[in-house]
């Protein structure tokens, strides 16, 4: 593959195949357009010669077509895969790229700001490295956004027009913001190192502000479909603002904002892992190891409060409609949350494993490694509890033996009391892993070090005992009390994490370094873990996107506009997971392309054979201020 002629030939071949595929799709779509068949009336005898008959038929068909009045169809069908799957895939790909484009500027901006204020050039380079991924991803976002819009107009014209009638006042601001997004994104990227650092930071801030505003508008359209407001029972618009500010709008805004950061961090860490595995020098490995660590750190920090944002969203769904809430948690979608538990359990396991492997970066003996086995036991137990279903798929004889579909012992672990407890302990344990990682190679020197450690351990233990106590207590109280217990559980975990962090900051201020962190000295397995985390996050987003949208079942707009298309049914979870997987694979194929384009930035400039190619290293790759 090293021969440039072969590469050129393969490139041309790929383009030809690509064009052929597009042509084939276009011809398929055109040839499968529905046409009214011509039928001869029963019993009719036609003595017209064939040639004349064909001419007459054509003329008659044209005449009929000319006389046909225009009727707006409610639906049009997408060939083979159906309209729903077509819109589903386009919407999910748009959302994945949009999440990436919204999240990366957020932490690029924060990292750049750290670099500006600490005057540490490494942060500037890191922030630039993240930003390099944005421009192509932005084009992808716009492309899939356009695809989604056209598909909606073409396949669901009546529904799309209804949404337009409710939200038309938001369209122009959306377009305006999109223009500003492009302006700030490109000026932020191309202006790296060209302006005063504060001016550049301002561009980054505006990019984030505009990006978030775009998300808020798009979220209004989406959430209105689930929890409509501002319209009459028959769907007439009463207040656009009420339609925007519906029950689930703000919880989705918060949930998506946090989830985008987690997702963006994980994909950026996957990029760093890819570069680490490609790296040829220790310096490159050290840089990309650090980049991967920061990306994963961003992802995990954002991931920890995500279940709490999820609780809030679920609470608002229940507040809007108990029926909708119960459809989600107790009806057709309840098993989806078992799949979700497997995904989140894997994320926690992988994130902890990465942190434990990271302890190896620090030279010499690591006194904290002996605790890892206990953390692993804790995480595994919580994972098992969380993934235990309430009712078990069993044969008739097994059901008889159990005395019902609920297992006499395991059934107790399948209810919310156990699951809430498990996820809260899981979060606390992961936080503990991070804390141990942070302390590796350091010794606190403050006079109150012992007291500080004891206090932190005390807070951790108190929070864990309190969470478990409330979990057990939930089995003995009525439903309305039990539902309310999740709030103190969540609050105690948040409070513990915040207070332990505050103590830790002061405890390790001016700590003595006992060993150096050797960036790049980490097993290659850690980099595959980062990619695994990114794929799992992406898959999780696809799955949760499905439940959010599928929850409406046979409604376009829940309770207001019914879905009467052939796709109005809710598919099996097996089918949904296949669509999610196809979307995830398509996303990684495309994001691989983005990574490849971004890595071209650092490649040497092309030079004809015999010229001084070695000296022609791209100056573009140096990336700004460093």
């Amino acid at each position: 593959m090293g021969n440039p002629k072969i590469r050129i030939a393969l490139g041309i071949l790929a383009i030809v195949i690509g064009l052929a595929v597009v042509g084939k799709i276009a011809s398929f779509l055109v040839s499968h357009e529905y046409r009214e068949p011509f039928r001869v009336a029963v019993g009719a005898e036609d003595a017209t010669p064939r040639e004349q008959g064909v001419i007459d038929e054509k003329a008659e068909a044209e005449k009929k077509a000319m006389a046909t009045p225009y009727v707006e169809p409610d639906y049009r069908a997408f060939p083979k895969i159906g309209s729903r799957v077509a819109v589903w895939v386009a919407a999910q790909l748009h959302l994945l790229f949009a999440a990436f484009v919204l999240a990366v500027p957020l932490f690029a901006f924060i990292i750049e700001a750290i670099g500006v204020f600490t005057k540490d050039k490494r942060y500037d380079r890191l922030a630039y490295e993240f930003t390099k991924l944005l421009s192509v991803a932005f084009s992808m976002t716009a492309t899939f956004g356009a695809a989604l819009t056209f598909l909606l107009i073409a396949l669901y014209p009546k529904f799309t027009m209804y949404l337009a009638s409710v939200f038309s006042p938001t369209f122009l601001p959306y377009v305006g913001l999109f223009f500003f997004e492009a302006f700030f994104l490109y000026s932020y990227y191309y202006g790296w190192g060209k302006f005063h650092p504060y001016v550049h930071l301002f561009l980054g801030f505006m990019l984030n502000l505009v990006g978030t505003s775009i998300m808020l508008i798009a979220n209004a359209w989406v959430t209105f479909m689930t929890s409509p407001a501002g319209v009459s029972e028959k769907g007439a618009v009463i207040s656009t603002w009420d339609a925007v500010h519906n029950f689930t709008w703000m919880p989705i805004n918060v949930h998506r904002f946090i989830a985008n950061i987690a997702f963006g961090g994980s994909v950026a860490a996957a990029y760093a892992a890819f570069k680490f595995l490609q790296a040829e020098t220790d310096e490159e490995r050290a840089h990309y190891d650090w980049m991967g660590y920061i990306g994963n750190f961003v992802a995990i920090i954002a991931f920890l409060p995500l279940p709490f944002a999820g609780y809030w969203l679920a609470k608002e769904i229940y507040a809007f409609s108990q029926t909708l809430g119960l459809t989600m948690m107790g009806g057709a979608f309840s098993w989806l949350f078992i799949i979700q538990a497997v995904l989140i359990g894997n994320l926690f396991l992988a994130a902890n494993y990465y942190l434990w492997l990271g302890m190896g970066r620090v030279e010499g003996h690591n006194p904290f490694q002996k605790y890892i086995k206990y953390l692993l036991i804790g995480i595994t137990l919580c994972f098992m509890v969380w993934a235990t279903p309430r009712s078990i798929i069993a044969t008739v004889s097994e059901v008889r033996a159990m005395g019902g579909a609920v297992h006499p012992i395991l059934g107790f672990l399948g209810v919310m009391s156990a699951k809430n407890t498990a996820v809260n302990i899981l979060i606390l344990t992961t936080y503990m892993s991070f804390l141990l990682y942070r302390r590796t190679g350091k010794v606190a020197t403050v006079a109150w070090a012992k007291l500080g450690n004891a206090l932190q351990l005390g807070i951790f233990a108190t929070a864990a005992i309190f969470v478990i106590f409330l979990g057990v207590y939930g089995y003995f109280v009525e439903a309305r009390v039990r539902i309310g217990l999740s709030v103190p559980q969540v609050s105690s975990v948040l409070l513990a994490m915040v207070s332990i962090t505050v103590i830790d900051v002061f405890l390790y201020a001016g700590a003595k370094k006992t060993a150096e962190v050797r960036w790049g000295k980490i097993p290659a397995a850690s980099q595959y873990i980062l990619i695994f985390i990114a794929v799992t996050f992406t898959w999780l987003m696809g799955l949760m996107g499905y439940v959010r949208s599928g929850l409406r079942q046979h409604w376009h707009v829940y309770g207001v506009m019914r879905d009467t298309s052939p796709d109005a049914f809710t598919p099996t979870l097996g089918f949904a997971t296949i669509v999610v997987s196809c979307t995830v694979l398509a996303f990684f194929l495309l994001i691989g392309f983005v990574f490849w384009l971004a890595s071209l930035h650092d490649k040497k400039d092309w030079a004809a054979a015999g010229t001084a190619s070695a000296d022609a290293h791209s100056t573009h790759g140096s990336g700004g201020r460093h």
Binding site: E233, F274, L277, Q278, Y318, S321, Q322, T323, L326, T327, G330, G331, A332, W335, L336, I338, I339, V342, L343, I393, V477, E478, A479, R480, R482, I483, Y528, I531, F532, V535, T536, W539, Q553, H554, W555, Y558, G559, V560, R562, D563, A568, F569, T570, P571, T572, L573, G574, A576, T577, I578, V580, S581, V584, L585, F588, G592
Partner: protein, 165 residues
């Protein structure tokens, strides 16, 4: 032979998605179709109405998303076993028919002690049962611990009956 990086990464992405797809196939597979519209005959008797009421509760009414019949223990929504017995005395001045009608047309007016409000308005979307369909559901509810008495001509406070507000 060392496998090049790109195929290794592609294999990892494929294996991860394949694993989650496999997990998705392990859980129960159920396609949920929109509720089938039941055409009510104008000359239905009370027995037929109760049978139709049960079908409506299973399907369009979505009643069993929340309610149960014969389930004990700590429940999120009232169990409906022998509900007619309780309905006759639940609210002073309301017959079982009036009570059931109120529970479906105006569910927040009375909430069973120990439970949170949460019952949707059954005559409005997304459930949207018609007046006659609600009468069928009442016929079935009466049969749980009592005897069905309603007909399609029965009037109550919410279908312009004698006691209409």
């Amino acid at each position: 032979m060392k496998i090049p990086l790109i195929p290794r990464l592609a294999a990892l992405v494929l294996a991860t998605t394949a694993f989650y797809t496999y997990v998705g196939q392990l859980v129960p597979q159920k396609e949920v179709h929109p509720p089938v519209e039941i055409v009510l005959k104008k000359d239905m008797d009370t027995t037929e109405m109760a049978k139709t009421g049960r079908e409506l509760m299973d399907g369009k009414g979505l009643c069993f998303t929340c309610h149960t019949i014969g389930k004990k223990g700590v429940l999120r929504f009232p169990d409906l076993e022998n509900v007619d017995v309780r309905a006759k005395t639940r609210e002073a001045g309301l017959s079982d028919v009036e009570y059931f009608a109120q529970a479906m047309y105006d569910p927040d007016k009375f909430v069973v002690p120990g439970f949170n409000p949460g019952m949707p308005h059954i005559n409005k979307p997304p459930i949207g049962l018609s007046d006659d369909e609600i009468l069928c559901v009442i016929a079935y509810l009466q049969s749980l611990g009592g005897t069905s008495t309603v007909t399609l001509q029965t009037k109550h406070a919410y279908n312009q009956g004698a006691a209409a507000k």
